[in-house]
Amino acid sequence: MKKNINQANFIGVEKSIQGTLEGHPACQKIFELLPVVVIAITNAGYIHFVSPKIYDWLGYKSKEIMGKHFSELICLSEKNKCLIKDKILEGQRSKESIYYEIALKSLSGDTMYCSVQSAPLLNSEGSHIGAVAVFSNITKLKQAQRGLKEKSAAIEYSIDAMAIADLNQNLKYVNPAFLQIWGYEDVNEVLGRSAIDFWKSKERASAIVRSIMRDGGWSGELVAQRKDGTLFNVKVSTSLIKRENEEPLSIMASFMDITEQKRLDIAKSEFIATASHQLRNPLASINWYAEMLSTISDSSKNKKVKRYSTEIHNSTIRLISLVNALLNTSRIELGTFSTSVRKFDLTGLIEDILKIFSSQIKNKEIDVSKNFSKTPFYIESDSMQIRIIVQNLISNAVKYSNRNGSLKISLEEKGEEVLFKIFNTGYGIPKAQQSRIFTKFFRAGNILDKEKDGTGLGLYIAKSLINNLKGKIWLESEEDKGATFFLALPKSLDKEIKGIGELITN
């Protein structure tokens, strides 16, 4: 019965609001102009009044909504609707006005976020008959908040370091990448400190801050200092963040660690210098032998012609092999070499390659021993690529072998793989440098001052090809004792053709 009384009372309230509106055009105007929607609901949650602006917001005419349950307008799962409904009804039972945020669903299915200020409606006896709620559209605010959340996640998870400093240059935010790059563990080790502290040259850093304040930003390269004092190269981009009134607010900066890039740049320049020198050596001999050939006197012709021509030929071979190494490297990097699998005899291939080095082996009086578990030893792979790999390993073994040294080659089956081992006595590779031996342009320190000939590309090419053929390469070496290289290759590689170019064997 109580409900009926409330209902009756509510209808009275609604009538009085409507009456007010009709009676006072000014009031009606106010409802139209206010950027809010006013809804009156009963204790049970049924809508009994809604201001006309609801049509602009959700597409419903106010008359269509009257009598509907409030929860039909809420854009949420059934479970959440219940929670919201309980909250709203609970709010209505209290005597205080309550505030909450809610997502409404328009007739066309769009979501609209609203903040709601709801006040209980009491009858003359002081009992609840419902509530009047004022809805404000906060969709734009919500969207902006969401955008902000996405942007801060982007900053937080960026692989580039980012930081924000106040106008006194003290750090107030750094992302995890900043901590990682600078070698700190906890953000509290960094926050509040002067941004100047993180650079090798504090004077330069201060000058940069001044130019940011003056010009609104700065970008360039700087040498940074890690927590442990070590230095590294950083590409920096900064800008001054301003308030709407153009007053500076804070300094934002992003940093990219370019140490590796720098190292590669230097390695590349050194490589170009070395390679051009080495390309010119055979060129100079070809040139000079050809010059001598053209100026031989008749008396000594035959013997000299033969020897000078041989020298020209040998130098040409060296030149070709250098150019091939350069070309294969660029092909590996561009991914434009092809792999074609066929069956071939690995022992035959090794014997062929050993023949190429026979004169060098003889000159250095190297003792070569071979141990093949079977002959012929057939495998299915790309014979051209394996030729380059094996030729490279044999060439290195011969080149870095000591005079009267020994060179051992073995071939054995290990399950689905074939294991190729090559050992030579000689310089060996220092332990500290072994991990870098397959990187581009790398040449072991103990070789550099003994053997100028070499591009630092051979093992890089070999390693890239081995990866391509699903194989593995590793080494064991002790300095001044020698080195063993191990090469494991699948006995049978899946037939697949990729790439478009052709590799050049030397």
Binding site: R280, P282, A284, S285, E291, T295, E311, N314, D449, K452
Partner: protein
């Protein structure tokens, strides 16, 4: 080592590229020079100080000790400070050329830029031998 009694000028060729070394040795030997050869910087310095050649043909990229270091050490020696040196190399960056000129070399020749005959002429000119 090749000997010829036509003139008694002694030339040290410092060159690690075997083909180039043989070629230079043969060409200069034919002209009657006394030829001594070294394949790396250390050996070159040792031989130079012992044999006191009249001229040194010096490459730069060399095993063990490079040509610039060898030149620097040579110039610190009383005899070595005055021996004529011709750099014959493929290195042609400014800093190396400047360093070499700072150690007063007679000539700085880039291998691929020169004819053998012209190199020979410069050597003869420096050693004041009449053109044949």
């Amino acid at each position: 080592m090749k000997k010829n009694n036509k003139n008694n000028k002694k030339i040290l060729i410092v060159e690690d590229d075997v083909a180039t070394m043989q070629l230079l040795g043969e060409k200069l030997g034919e002209q009657g020079f006394l030829i001594i050869m070294a394949e790396d910087g250390e050996q070159a310095l040792e031989i130079a100080l012992k044999e006191k050649p009249d001229l040194i043909l010096l490459d730069i990229l060399l095993p063990k000790m490079d040509g610039m270091e060898m030149l620097g050490k040579l110039r610190k020696n009383t005899w070595g400070s005055n021996v004529p040196v011709i750099i014959l190399t493929n290195i042609d960056d400014f800093s190396t050329i400047n360093e070499a000129l700072g150690n007063h070399v007679y000539d700085y020749l880039v291998k691929t830029d020169w004819r053998l005959e012209d190199i020979l002429e410069r050597i003869k000119k420096k050693l004041a031998i009449a053109q044949s």
